[in-house]
């Protein structure tokens, strides 16, 4: 089981805040997971193909090559705009 969180524009575009799912097979890295989620439909493809999409694994900023494991909390969000 992994937990997926979506924030700000990403959450609105996908119409979802949070979901849990079994780690899909052959999903070793964030890049793999992204590729997998982009298959869901056209809107998901648009969001997950955006090179500016940011990601965090277990509350730490992460990159495409970051490994993911069962039990992880993985977040997807647009570039941050605080401060």
């Amino acid at each position: 089981m992994i937990t997926l969180l979506y924030f700000a524009q990403v959450s609105e575009q996908l119409n979802i805040n949070q979901e849990q799912l079994d780690l899909p097979p052959d999903t070793a890295t964030l890049a793999d997971l992204r590729h997998c989620l982009a298959q869901r439909d056209e809107q998901w493809q648009t969001v997950f193909n955006d090179p500016r999409l940011m990601m965090a694994v277990n509350q730490t900023m992460a990159k495409a090559e970051t490994a993911i494991n069962d039990g992880d909390e993985i977040a997807f969000f647009p570039p941050v705009t605080g401060g």
Partner: protein, 147 residues
């Protein structure tokens, strides 16, 4: 190190007092306040700051620790507000204290540049023409890459 994420306003004078009291080795204190800006072209009535609660303090703490590793700092305070804020209201306060002013200035600007590009906050502006998410600025990413 004092890291806070809160809805209520902050008292900058009290925060500086807390840092400098009984610490006569501090020679320089640099502070930054970021405010909800309202420019005439598209009046901003208010702003809502959302964040990723489980990650926010961790991200701010990590940024402050990076600053402490790079510069000789006596104290670092980062307070970031979330929730709905009106035009002109303060959003963020960063305070750095050091024996020397160059370290305090550099660390304060570093923390702001990192916070702007690495801390999980998002602003939605409420204008007379409707609501919209604020776009990230390339200039913030460039500012961050200097360090």
């Amino acid at each position: 190190m004092n890291i806070q994420v809160q809805t209520q306003a902050f008292d900058m004078g009290a925060e500086i007092q807390a840092i400098t009291a009984n610490r006569p080795d501090i020679g320089a204190v640099v502070s930054f306040i970021g405010l909800v800006r309202d420019v005439a072209a598209q009046p901003v009535l208010a702003m809502t700051l959302v964040h990723y609660p489980a990650m926010t303090e961790k991200a701010l703490t990590d940024i402050a620790r990076q600053a402490q590793r790079r510069w000789d700092l006596t104290a670092v305070t980062v307070i970031h507000r979330v929730g709905k804020l009106s035009a002109g209201e303060p959003i963020v306060l960063v305070i750095t204290a050091s024996t020397h002013r160059q370290a305090a200035f550099a660390a304060c600007e570093f923390i702001m540049d990192y916070l702007k590009t690495r801390a999980p906050f998002w602003k939605k502006e409420h204008t007379v023409h409707g609501d919209h998410w604020v776009s990230a600025k390339d200039s913030d990413e460039h500012a961050c890459q200097r360090w």
